[in-house]
């Protein structure tokens, strides 16, 4: 088990180095997907697509906060527990979209 974490440790180091570009890229992609989701809802006006668009909106907002957080107070403004709550909301919205008939 210890060897497994030893294997993962260098990957964590690489991820730390690439942190800012990754956050920026994820934010840009989330904007694109939210725009598509919003256009899809505007076209079809279905509740399912509303939930999906809302989920991607919150996802985009979350990554915007993470991007700002990178510059202002890394890890102090948008804490892991706070992120957990946001992710819970996103998951609930996606689940509602899946269950909606």
């Amino acid at each position: 088990m210890e060897n497994f974490w030893d294997f993962l440790r260098p990957l964590t180091g690489i991820a730390e180095v690439l942190s800012l570009p990754v956050v920026l890229l994820v934010f840009i992609i989330s904007i694109i997907i939210f725009a598509i989701a919003l256009a899809a809802y505007m076209r079809k006006k279905s509740a399912r697509l509303l939930f999906v668009a809302a989920a991607f909106f919150i996802f985009m907002a979350k990554w915007l906060l993470q991007l700002i957080d990178q510059f202002i107070s890394p890890g102090l403004f948008f804490s892991i527990p706070a992120q957990g709550i946001v992710e819970l909301i996103i998951m609930v919205l996606l689940l509602l979209a899946i269950l909606k008939k």
């Binding site: 256009a39 899809a40 076209r43 399912r48 697509l49 899946i98 909606k100």
Partner: protein, 181 residues
């Protein structure tokens, strides 16, 4: 005058007006797309489309396995209609865009640029040559392809750019429509 009042009568129903508006704004849509966007039942949509075609308010064009719909009063595209119909297919569109950016290219170069197999590219190029959109010229042992009327193709791509974003949205709607089924 007679035609105008005939059209008014034909589009009296909200449903038909909706179908007509959709086709006018998105020329070249095929049946399945019209059905998805209007949310109408297949039988009902077939009836209304048949009615509109009979009244010569829309035109039906069969292209391979797809039947596409165009408004008669919409922009008179002529050849551009069939060009647009072809350019709705992603691979063909990518090939045309690639050829527009190069003076000419051969099968190998196009295949490398687009990440498709040479045989697939060859099949698509034959389609484009038959449609009169590109021409092929032999130079030595190689065959090169070139867009015949770059301005017209570029103008169609520009004018209907919105429709390609619509395809992205359509794909997104498709994905979520099929979830939970």
């Amino acid at each position: 005058m007679e035609d105008y009042s005939g059209k008014q009568e034909a589009l009296f129903l909200d449903t038909r007006q909706r179908i007509y508006n959709l086709i006018e704004q998105n020329p070249g849509l095929h049946f399945r797309e019209v059905q998805r966007r209007t949310g109408l039942a297949v039988g009902s949509l077939q009836y209304h489309l048949g009615y509109l075609a009979k009244k010569q308010i829309i035109r039906i064009e069969k292209n391979g396995k797809f039947t596409r719909y165009y408004s008669v009063a919409g922009p008179q595209l002529g050849e551009a209609q069939s060009t647009m119909s072809l350019l709705r297919q992603e691979s063909l569109r990518k090939i045309m865009i690639f050829l527009l950016t190069k003076k000419r290219a051969n099968n190998t170069r196009i295949a490398e640029a687009l990440g498709l197999s040479p045989s697939t590219i060859s099949w698509h190029l034959d389609k484009l040559v038959k449609a009169g959109l590109i021409e092929k010229k032999r130079k030595g042992r190689k065959i090169f392809y070139k867009v015949i009327n770059s301005e017209q193709v570029a103008s169609i791509l520009r004018e209907y750019k919105k429709s390609f974003f619509d395809e992205l949205v359509d794909n997104f709607v498709d994905v979520w429509d099929n979830v939970g089924k």
